[in-house]
Homo-oligomer: 500 residues x 2
Amino acid sequence: MSHIPVPPPNTAAEVDERCRTAGRAAPALAALPPADRAALLDRLADTLRSHEQEIVTLADTETSLGRARLTGELHRTAGQLELFAGALRDGGVLDVIIDAPDPAAQPAPRPGLRRWLVPIGPVAVFSASNFPLAFSVLGGDTASALAAGCPVVVKAHSGHPRLSDLVAGLATEVLPSGVLAVVHGREAGIRLVGHPDIAAVGFTGSVAGGRALFDLAAARPDPIPFYGELGSVNPVVVTPAASAARAGELISGFVNSFTLGNGQFCTKPGLLFLPRGHGWEDRLATAVAAVPAAPMLGPWICAGFAEARDRLAATAGVRLLAGDTKPRSGDDPTLTGPALFATSAADFAGNPAMADEAFGPAALVVEYASEQELKRVLATLPGSLTATLHADAAAEKALACRLLTLLSGKAGRVVWGGWPTGVAVAWATQHGGPWPAATPSTHTGVGVTAMRRFQRPVSFQGLPDELLPEALRDANPWHLARRVDGVPARPEPATAAGPR
Amino acid sequence: MSHIPVPPPNTAAEVDERCRTAGRAAPALAALPPADRAALLDRLADTLRSHEQEIVTLADTETSLGRARLTGELHRTAGQLELFAGALRDGGVLDVIIDAPDPAAQPAPRPGLRRWLVPIGPVAVFSASNFPLAFSVLGGDTASALAAGCPVVVKAHSGHPRLSDLVAGLATEVLPSGVLAVVHGREAGIRLVGHPDIAAVGFTGSVAGGRALFDLAAARPDPIPFYGELGSVNPVVVTPAASAARAGELISGFVNSFTLGNGQFCTKPGLLFLPRGHGWEDRLATAVAAVPAAPMLGPWICAGFAEARDRLAATAGVRLLAGDTKPRSGDDPTLTGPALFATSAADFAGNPAMADEAFGPAALVVEYASEQELKRVLATLPGSLTATLHADAAAEKALACRLLTLLSGKAGRVVWGGWPTGVAVAWATQHGGPWPAATPSTHTGVGVTAMRRFQRPVSFQGLPDELLPEALRDANPWHLARRVDGVPARPEPATAAGPR
């Protein structure tokens, strides 16, 4: 498929026109009942599945991620659209709250209020390099924005521009006109964030890129919410008991996790805290040496990783435990192998740059001398998407509680006894965390509640029932779970309910 | 009480120390079970009520709002604290979601996830001039932050600094040490927004002041959420049928609403859209003339209002319908009377500055010639906290639907057949709206869901039950309503549930 030309950057006029079109499409999309929006999402999922071969082939051409991984990602992306469809049919995501009037309220009578969540308006989505389907044109940001009822203009990632056009083309056959568009080029992305028709931004990428776009969104005459997933170092802590009891299993698990997808996961564990005297060096080196060099997503990722890795290698107090700091093969500079470094907690504490994310197959072992030193160092960490603890729940219960409290202050997802790579897409998913993992930390980029980023509450006071949105009417025609007079109320089942 | 000295501005070192203290107090407050946080809020309410005389007297000295209004506001403020206490006992505000593991999930097995909302950390609250109790030291921002489990550092408003210290002093007798502090002075406020221990900001005030602080929050190395309520013009639309049928009632209702509290409400209706040829001029003039001049909150408010009013008076196409553009009494320059202006929709459309908020007793009648012209002008309005419609539900149903759709795109609260002044504090309250009414538009500053501004989701993966927060354990010891495997689940009643 390499004969398909790479799409050129869009002009400012083209970006403006796509934003205006999205603005014009917004009211009709907002007015669709949730079941109809759900049907659109299901059709998008079907479209992805029915074009699996074509999509996976082009994705592999552009990203080198391999057919197996990309096929899995395609089904994950389809499943994600269907999860949002299910959430819309459930309707709890509309968060309907109804308070009856209270003429006896003190100090003043209280009018009746009926509140729900409406779409915020057109959303700009900046897709990621490392998930060309699940965090791209029909990925989580787009799925949650469409579910919320917002048109989307996607800034395609330059790592898979033709795939972006292919997926957008398939999607626009299913969606109402104007609801989804793609733009290409760095300048197009900047224009997008400043366009008056854009009401919010979803972003997945680097700290530098995300920060620049965040600043643009905040500097608008009318600032708009910017939901960014930027950078995450994903600490893993191993306690003395776990280190002693489960070294073999933890070594293979850790090396597998930090080299998975050649380290190109936002949840890659970049820091491993081990008790001093762990004695894991040789086995870590052996495990790392067994990981083959592999292609990275593109030359710019390759170069960025080499720079971050080499900076770490050159840092005072850091030693190479295992792996490469140069390409193994002089023949193919696109192949990159893993590298594992080590330092002491004392050196780590003295150099905050050691906690910067290196996007690729590198990680740093930090050796701590005592619980006190471990906690002191953990307290200085920047925010992460995840934090992981390996401990002995029985023998170290109090220690585990203290560490879990500390780690949950630093991350959106706390993993016990497992590994952070792999993000389950579910109702309870939290993919976010304190800066720079995400901004703001109050929302998630993945999972059902990601919709909430693109919803705005509106409350109606004193409206006649027949003028209210269906979701708020007495008869509850959409059969929503609602909170009424402060108490959660389940609807009658759809089959049994009739007009009343 | 004028013998109490005005507190001096705090030094940078004092601000830093109060922020650090709040940071140190955060973990223990976060760890309190919701019922214990509820008890603290109830005790704060009791404290306000039991010091009513002292508080109201000092508040009246500093704000001239009058004992009746201030007494009502005190009880409203106490009731607001109790509403959050009730919401904590209900527990739905913790938004617990539990997904069991799914080993059969495709394309990969899914781990179990348990998610809830935790406090974001210390919150800086900038209190308002016009509600020295309900939007001040123990007002809605503080109540929602404490309910969420966040310590608070309040930037006291310079309009009621001694009252702020009085209320803070009473509150600190009830609250755990370090959980609430007050700072004074403009520089102290700036320092507060930049302090590393502050995790979010709540603000009520002017567009200029709010924008400056928003910019500071966004420019931090680690940007933090800024929840501001800035400025709102609160349009009221009267349709031809309503204008013809209910002129007398609407004229007195409107004049009462825009002059209530001498126009010093954020929900004051500043724009009244009337069909051309309404014939209301004489009766509007009579009603406005009957409103006595009254003191404003302070000389700076008085001066700001005079400037905004006189700018409007001098605008091409604007004519004075009724009232004053100068103080009525040469003796007392602090007394200000109402002023009502009129213009055509065509002139209004040509000059966006006419939609700027004038904080005080002024309003502008905008006369429209047709539905088309009305809708065109409404579409250009900035965001507001409220939008109000007076129409005939039977004879104008289709028109009303079209206007309600348009108005709900411009405001957080849509009022039918009433007036926007007066904010009910309830579950379904929405006090916010598109810029510049609030930023971001995705949250409310008043009502139970205001808590959500200061909460951050955390998800736990794979934890043994005994290491989970109580809210997430199988036995549900706090008897919370939770969403389990995608389905809302009511707990067993507290009396019937035991350990299992």
